[in-house]
């Protein structure tokens, strides 16, 4: 059966939604307080930061690339913003500066991957360390405790909706619009579908690739700001291993590491909620803190496993047919 939107349904909801319900149920059983309205609302708000980063990450994943440096970009952006606020500069100025950080980080990755043709994982691995070191340098490894004025932003509301969620909505809408309604967005999908066909169709593959890393960097910065507003402090481990959460969220939401498929809405939201649910649930259960890295590792492994198997299936589907069931060749 074919109809427009069929893929939207399957990919948007497929694994993510089901798992989400299962996980919610599991935690709900294990820790009754989990299903409290306030807790659930908490999860939604807390997930906004990772959803924003995942939205940006989706763009790079769509081209079969990846940006491992998002966590450290979050850190640098937050560190810069935090430092500026603490030295008395205005909040808007610090926000702009943080966005600038995201832009620069994205540009560096963009140049390395599209202009120098480096493999994305190694390029962004390098910038991950560059960024992390820089951020630690800026914060001198001390936690930056932001003044009330900033952390208030985390709980402020715009028309009754918490600010972080508003930000998420804006970012998500922007990225979704970009990916589905602009020429650039469709070209991103095209590259993920087939880079050779893209070149033949006259697409400027270098430029398009570069743009995905810039978008990812900026989204990471925004995610960092939101996280900063929610936490109120920049600690040494700010943004640590958030790249895993971002990739997991995106892949759970139907984006493939192999490129060309997946949507920001609603996939990324579901993925981010799922990740956040797991994290929140572990806290609710008073889980042993040593479990956290274990779950991070397992979650990313499983999501990539499912993606790889799915990818292999789709490759098998595209095979040539020599003999038709009619039994006779086309020629006769």
């Amino acid at each position: 059966m074919r109809y427009p939107g069929k893929h939207f349904l399957i990919r948007g909801f497929g694994n993510g939604a089901l798992m989400f319900i299962v996980v919610l149920g599991a935690f709900g059983l294990l820790a009754p307080r989990f299903l409290d309205a306030t807790n659930l609302a908490n999860i939604v708000v807390q997930s906004s930061s990772i959803a924003i980063v995942a939205a940006g990450m989706t763009c790079t994943l769509l081209t079969a690339g990846i940006d491992l440096s998002v966590g450290s970009t979050m850190f640098v952006a937050a560190a810069v913003a935090g430092k500026m606020v603490l030295t008395g500069m205005s909040i808007p100025a610090s926000i702009v500066a943080a966005l600038g950080v995201g832009l620069v980080a994205g540009l560096i990755n963009a140049i390395l991957v599209s202009y120098f043709s480096m493999q994305p994982f190694i390029a962004t691995l390098g910038t991950l360390f560059l960024g992390r070191g820089l951020a630690l340098l800026i914060t001198e490894t001390r936690s930056l405790n932001l003044p009330e004025s900033f952390s208030k932003l985390g709980s402020e509301r715009l028309l009754g909706v918490p600010l972080p969620i508003v930000t998420l909505a804006v970012v998500l809408a922007a990225v979704h619009l970009l990916l589905s309604r602009t020429s650039l967005g469709r070209q991103i999908y095209a590259i993920g579908g087939s880079i050779q066909a893209s070149r033949k169709a006259g697409i400027h593959t270098r430029r398009v690739l570069a743009s995905t890393y810039v978008i990812c960097g900026v989204c990471a910065a925004i995610g960092g700001l939101v996280s900063l507003a929610l936490l109120g402090t920049v600690s040494q481990t700010f943004g640590y291993q958030r790249e895993f959460a971002a990739v997991s969220a995106a892949v759970l939401g139907g984006v493939s590491l192999f490129g060309g498929r997946g949507k920001v809405f609603p996939g990324v939201i579901i993925g981010a909620l799922l990740i956040q649910t797991v994290e929140n649930g572990l806290v609710m259960l008073n889980a042993n803190p040593y479990i956290y890295p274990l779950t991070t590792g397992v979650v990313i492994f499983l999501t990539v496993l499912v993606d790889s198997l799915r990818h292999r299936q789709s490759l098998k589907m595209s095979r040539r047919i020599i003999r038709r069931p009619e039994g006779v060749n086309v020629a006769t």
Binding site: P4, I322, R323, A331
Partner: protein, 503 residues
């Protein structure tokens, strides 16, 4: 009658092989030109020149009377030339509409940003689709379309780009008969609207039905051009094959034995082959001839074990296998020279020596340790046997060698493992005459040594020149087997095309 495109003296060489020689003929405006010839006759190369994919070495392409040099496909598209390749150039993960318009979408301008104007795009796409007879929603993802529909979308794309000349390269190979009829209806309609088309196909019946003029290429030259009334299937076949032996083949003087070396029994795989049987004998050179899409490469890949099959067995060297695997097949004495040496036959960045040694490594090692001196000597000997100047090229990466020498490296690699059965899939594709002769000589020699050879090729001449027996495959079925005494190019070609396609 004026011509919209004119080829004038086109020549092209790849490395040392002349692929096109003094090709001159017109494409008349508003006509469909059928371009026929065997594989390797030069059809695709010529069309690639017209389509801006490659440049001609000599001669001129004239469009609308103006001499043109087309540097890239975009320039060709600007002139209204659209090339619909056999392997369609669509993005399966995008919708029909998006495929039609990428990367120049109709846009709204909102506050300086260009958003895709979905409504306009959909409307234009719908119109476009209707003009090719497809009544589908433009929002359907291409991955959900069957090959017939995809083809029509590709055509719609060409129309959308205001094409005036559309080149169809083997468009019907993945289509069912009703889809083919639908395509022809469309082409007829386009013709009546003034579109010029070039139709490349090996299905002669279709060519005669559809085209206004026919051009026959052989060995890179035009052997006939004229209105379709001057042609019949018989005439086309004899023009395509011709008689060009000229001592190109070493004398076959060995006689095959009766002992079976490879037996394929009841091989079946849905969608590919059904109940296929044949036997190779020791010392025998058996040719396998089939057109593009006949299943010949799929067949040999299954025999070697690269793809699975549901039923049947492969008997080789006394043992029978239902599920062969490359490593096992090699151990049992099978060798497989693949169609595409660059992708599957060679490690391009590795040295000549490393490549030649790859298959037979274990036989020059004890407990995993290589006897370097012994291996070196064996590689040297084998290289000399295939006429590679190993002294100079031993350490060079294989990618620096010419096509002919590269193919010889692949052959040397397999010969070093001393196989009992050799499967060669298009061993002389893309190599010069001298190297071709070398390959034939080696085949002879192997046959003389008691090896069995399955020679898969799309060149009837070389099969006739080298083989003891020729099998013809069509749509996954062995439809003919011709002994040396009865070798006849036209008969073979006719079998390959299928009786009914020849009127």
């Amino acid at each position: 009658m004026e011509s919209i495109v004119e080829f004038d003296g086109i020549g092209k060489r790849f490395f040392n092989v002349t692929v096109l020689r003094d090709v001159s003929f017109p494409v008349i405006r508003g006509h469909i030109l059928g371009l026929v010839g065997e594989n390797g006759a030069g059809k695709s190369t010529l069309m690639n020149i017209l389509g801006g994919v490659i440049a001609a070495d000599s001669g001129v392409v004239r469009v609308d009377g103006k001499d043109l040099i087309l540097k890239n496909p975009q320039q060709a598209a600007e002139r209204g030339i659209s090339f619909i390749h056999q392997e369609l150039n669509l993005f399966p993960n995008l919708t029909i509409a998006e495929n039609l318009f990428i990367p120049h979408f109709p846009k709204h301008k909102i506050a300086g940003l260009g958003l895709i104007n979905r409504r306009d795009m959909r409307e234009q796409a719908k119109k476009c689709l209707l003009s090719v007879g497809l009544d589908l929603s433009p929002d359907i993802v291409v991955a959900d379309l069957n090959p017939g529909e995809r083809q029509l979308v590709e055509i719609a794309k060409a129309l959308n780009a205001d094409a005036r000349v559309v080149i169809f390269d083997e468009p019907t190979s993945s289509l069912s008969r009703p889809e083919v009829e639908r395509l022809f209806l469309l082409m007829n309609r386009l013709r009546s609207q003034g579109m010029s088309m070039i139709y490349i196909s090996h299905i002669l019946g279709d060519v005669l039905k559809l085209c206004d003029d026919i051009c026959v290429l052989r060995d890179g030259q035009v052997v006939a051009y004229g209105p379709k009334d001057e042609f019949s299937s018989e005439r086309m076949i004899s023009l395509m094959t011709g008689r060009s032996f000229e001592n190109l083949y070493p004398r076959r003087d060995t006689v095959p034995s009766d002992e079976p070396a490879l037996e394929v029994r009841s091989l079946s795989q849905p969608g590919v082959v059904e109940n296929l049987d044949f036997t190779l004998h020791r010392g025998e050179v058996v040719g396998l001839f089939g057109l593009m899409g006949s299943g010949r490469t799929e067949l040999v890949r299954m025999i070697f074990g690269l793809d699975t099959f549901e039923q049947g067995e492969i008997a080789l060297g006394g043992s029978v296998d239902r599920q062969p695997v490359p490593r096992e097949s090699i151990r049992r004495g099978l060798a497989f020279l693949t169609e595409d040496r660059r992708v599957e036959g060679l490690c391009m960045d590795a040295s000549v020596e490393e490549n030649i040694a790859l298959v037979a490594l274990s036989s020059f090692a004890s407990s995993g340790v290589i006897h370097k001196a012994r291996l070196r000597r064996a590689v040297t000997d084998e290289a000399s046997a295939v006429s590679i100047n190993i002294a100079t090229v031993r350490k060079q990466p294989v990618k620096t060698l010419s096509g002919g020498n590269q193919q010889k490296v692949v052959l040397a690699k397999w010969l070093l493992s001393d196989p009992a059965v050799l499967i060669l899939d298009e061993p002389t594709r893309g190599i010069d005459v001298g190297a071709k002769y070398e390959v034939y000589r080696l085949i002879n020699q192997c046959a003389g040594d008691g090896k069995a050879i399955l020679f898969v090729s799309s060149e009837i001449e070389e099969l006739i020149g080298v083989c003891d027996r020729i099998l013809v495959i069509r749509a996954g079925e062995m439809c003919d087997s011709v002994r040396r005494a009865e070798f006849n190019a036209e008969r073979i070609l006719r079998s390959a095309f299928g009786a009914q396609s020849v009127q």
